[in-house]
Amino acid sequence: MAELSDQLMALTVLAYLAAMVTYAAEYAFGKRSHIGRAAARPARQLVGAGGPPAEAPLTGKGPVEEPPAVVDVVGGQPGERDRGALLARIAVGINLVALLLHLGTLVTRGVAADRMPWGNMYEFILSVSFVGSAAWLGVLLRRPGIRHLGLFVALTMVVLLGANGLIAYTPVGPLVPALNSYWFIIHVATIILASGILLFGAVPAAMFLIRTGYDQGKRRFPYTLGRRSPAADTLERLTFRLHAFAFPLFTFGALIAGPLWAEASWGRYWGWDPKEVWAFISWIVYAGYLHARATPSVKRTTATWIALIGFVTMLMNLFGVNLFFEGLHSYANAG
């Protein structure tokens, strides 16, 4: 069972990789991309000076400059349109397969160890990334418009899981006595759920900033990604809702269940262990985000930057603390 889990893990990474490639293909060839759009447009419009109205008054780097030679202008019109939609469907399908494989990896791991698969850093990252990935697909099904974020989500998953398998891999084993408590499930489950959603929340946050910059006329590299992203409002609202959902969960997991367990296990509910310090920092930063967003005089972009700082502290909390510091939460076996 343990070997099966390891093989599934490899398949999961491959599937995310395939999903990433397909998302990228849709990005490049789909009907909303410039090549696709150029293809879908009749040839005489291509000869004319302007692109679509939204892009016409802007700088010269519009889709018009794309060499029209790469597409079969005459013959490929309806086919191109279908190809984009088809690619999109394939991408989401592969993503779903990847998610199921991911789930399979977790379940077999749990069965092999005969416990919840949250006992070391390898399993923890596996679980957090699963929650993030599931949150992504859940949001995607409700709002198909954000599908173009899929490229970044899949890329993140490949990097995260690849690094996890290479650096943090730990053979299957039972829990150390310190983790043998019912608080293990409560504390770690809520933390995994909250962390997964908070980490995923950084994707619409970053895209909101990119899109806002794009809307303001910025055309340098990161902002060009905003061309095909959902509307800034949608992204901003999604960012807030994800954070507003995950913040109470994180509060419960890190600041209530955690101290309750610490009191039973170490005799004190709060002792400024490095993990506790960084959970405190993340909590404060996300609280700052929620306050900033609720304050009309603070710009939404400023508030969103705070959410991204929260993302960085969260990464530090989940990975940095285990790798750099030695503390009471050192069950991680990182490397």
């Binding site: 005799g267 400024w272 310090v277």
Partner: protein, 550 residues
């Protein structure tokens, strides 16, 4: 009503509320006391949201060094190590309080300012909210069509009956509703919902205050002590301050306040995986509270809860029992805990016999004939020659000892470690190694004869447990505060304050037909609430459908 207020309260905003309309006959402006003005402006600055955000970030940044540098309160050995490794830097950092970050003045300054700002922010909001809870929803604005949500419909029945019906429906949906009669047979229904948002918001912030107060009182009235407890009736301990290896009492706790009880470790069971990873620890103790004895078992996640204190199991190890017989045939037995230095319980320790070789005839004590042993205990010795244990349980236990004779340096009255010999005495030549270059291997039951004919007998080992004894009187208050805060937080995040108005005018006034009502509805979400249009539509639909005859 064209200006739609976005927030419920003007407090905690960057700009103070500006009063644009001056009364017609304003008295000449009074000269304000500049000190008072400064104070008032500073207070406004401090309680503004921007300052609160800055303070929040300062607090987050200030917490970082506590995770990077070792903290005295967390790990005093690591702090000492840091001092040895950085003799120049450490004292400087120490002056900045970098090794006691969370007790330092600057950290306290940040969170006290933050909480002052918080009080200045939420106290007026509380007053506002109490007022809002007691006032009825305001009457409909003149132009409902200017509101974010708007609808119009015609209905049979006279305006009063329709208004009553709509109001009834709103009340069943838990809206706070007020029906008013206006001139010309016009009726209005004003309704408001979502007070829970501000209630939750205030609850959250006051709960934070409760947590702070709880933590503060906890550090004043709480205490804790650590104790290494070796198994056996001769090794029990009672809660007097001197019997703890290390202890710290809160500012308002006196040594006499410790609850009286005694503990004796009767049994300790540790089980391990084949890989050496621990599987379970169970400590059994004989507890004596005021003369009543009871046997209790506790483990890592299940502490021993006694009246006035909680005993947590932190770790364990082995204590070899050694009997030394000196030149005069006098035997002394010592049980010396050896501290584990790795996961396989390779343990280090010393056994000292400062009262050895005292002439029983004369009672004359020769300081140069004191004896000390330094050693490593391996619960399971490996097949290779390495001096590390390969398994944490006692499968093939061996004790490696080095013997020293001379002055141990204990008579000088200087405090020294009980887990190491005085290196100063050894380098000064006052304490000499008297065994061979390689440490002597001794197994349980074996006797080792030293160069002067004295013997050391290794009788076996006893387990020991390291215990943390702790009392925190405000733990429940802090927990209650945290839970209340979470509930308030959810209320403030998921609640939405919103208002709707319905105006019912008689139809004949508008179109000349009698017996009908023109219903105009408007809705105003007072916070960002994407679900409001849908809710408003369903309210209007329900108002249209329901029967007008009351």
């Amino acid at each position: 009503m064209t200006e739609l207020p976005k927030t419920a309260s003007p407090y905690c905003e960057d700009k103070p509320v500006e009063i644009t309309q001056q009364p017609a006959a304003a008295p000449p402006p009074r000269r304000t006391n500049p000190v008072w003005a400064l104070l008032r402006n500073s207070w406004r600055q401090l309680t503004s949201m921007r300052t609160a955000l800055v303070l929040l970030f300062l607090l987050a940044i200030a917490a970082i060094p506590g995770s990077v540098l070792p903290q005295r309160s967390v790990n005093i050995e690591r702090t000492a190590e840091f001092f040895r490794a950085h003799p120049d830097l450490a004292p400087f950092l120490d002056r900045l309080g970098m090794f006691d970050v969370y007790a330092s003045a600057w950290f306290a300054a940040i969170y006290l300012l933050l909480f002052t700002s918080l009080i200045g922010c939420v106290a007026p909001r509380l007053a506002d909210h109490v007022r809002a809870l007691r006032t009825v929803p305001p009457d409909a604005p003149k132009r409902l069509d200017r509101l974010p949500q708007h609808a119009e419909a015609e209905r049979p029945g006279d305006p009063a009956a329709v208004a009553a019906c709509v109001a009834r429906h709103l009340r069943t949906r838990r809206w706070r509703t007020r029906v008013r009669e206006r001139d010309g047979g016009v009726w209005t229904v004003a309704a408001e919902k979502g007070y829970l948002k501000e209630t939750g918001n205030l609850l959250f912030h006051f709960a934070l205050l409760a947590v702070l107060v709880g933590v503060g009182f906890g550090s004043w009235y709480g205490w804790h002590g650590n104790r290494l407890l070796v198994q056996g009736p001769d090794k029990g301990f009672c809660t007097t301050l001197t019997q703890f290896d290390e202890s710290s009492l809160g500012a308002r706790v006196d040594a006499a306040d410790l609850p009286p009880f005694c503990l004796e470790l009767t049994d300790f069971q540790a089980t391990f995986q084949d890989s050496g990873q621990p599987k379970s620890f169970d400590a059994t103790v004989l507890v004596d509270v005021d003369g009543t004895q009871s046997t209790r078992t506790f483990t890592v996640n299940d502490p021993l809860r006694l009246p006035g204190a909680t005993v947590n199991l932190l770790g364990h190890g082995y204590a070899p029992v050694l009997r030394y017989t000196d030149r005069y045939g006098q035997a002394q037995t010592k049980v010396v805990p050896f501290l584990p230095r790795d996961g396989m319980f390779t343990s280090e320790g010393v056994a000292t016999f400062p009262d050895a070789n005292v002439d029983p005839e004369t009672g004359a004590r020769d300081e140069r004939l004191q004896v000390g042993f330094e050693g490593v205990y391996l619960p399971t010795v490996g097949t290779d020659d390495r001096p590390t244990s390969v398994y944490p349980a006692e499968r093939n236990p061996v004790l490696f000892l080095t013997a020293y004779r001379g002055s141990l340096g204990v008579d000088a009255g200087r405090p020294g470690s009980v887990y190491a010999l005085d290196r100063g005495q050894i380098t000064a030549g006052r304490l000499k190694q008297v065994s061979g270059a390689r440490p002597q291997e001794v197994r349980a039951g074996e006797t080792w004869t030293l160069d002067d004919g004295t013997t050391l007998e290794f009788l076996g080992t006893r387990p020991f447990a390291t215990l943390a004894v702790r009392h925190d009187p405000t733990g429940l208050l802090v927990l209650g505060g945290a839970v209340a805060g979470l509930i308030g937080l959810m209320g403030s995040l998921f609640g939405h304050r919103r208002r709707v108005w319905f105006r019912m005018s008689p139809l004949d006034a508008a179109a000349g037909k009698a017996g009908g009502t023109v219903m105009v509805a408007g809705g105003l979400p007072r916070t960002d609430y994407p679900g409001f249009p849908a809710e408003f539509r369903s309210l209007v639909q329900a108002a249209e459908k329901s029967e007008g005859t009351a």
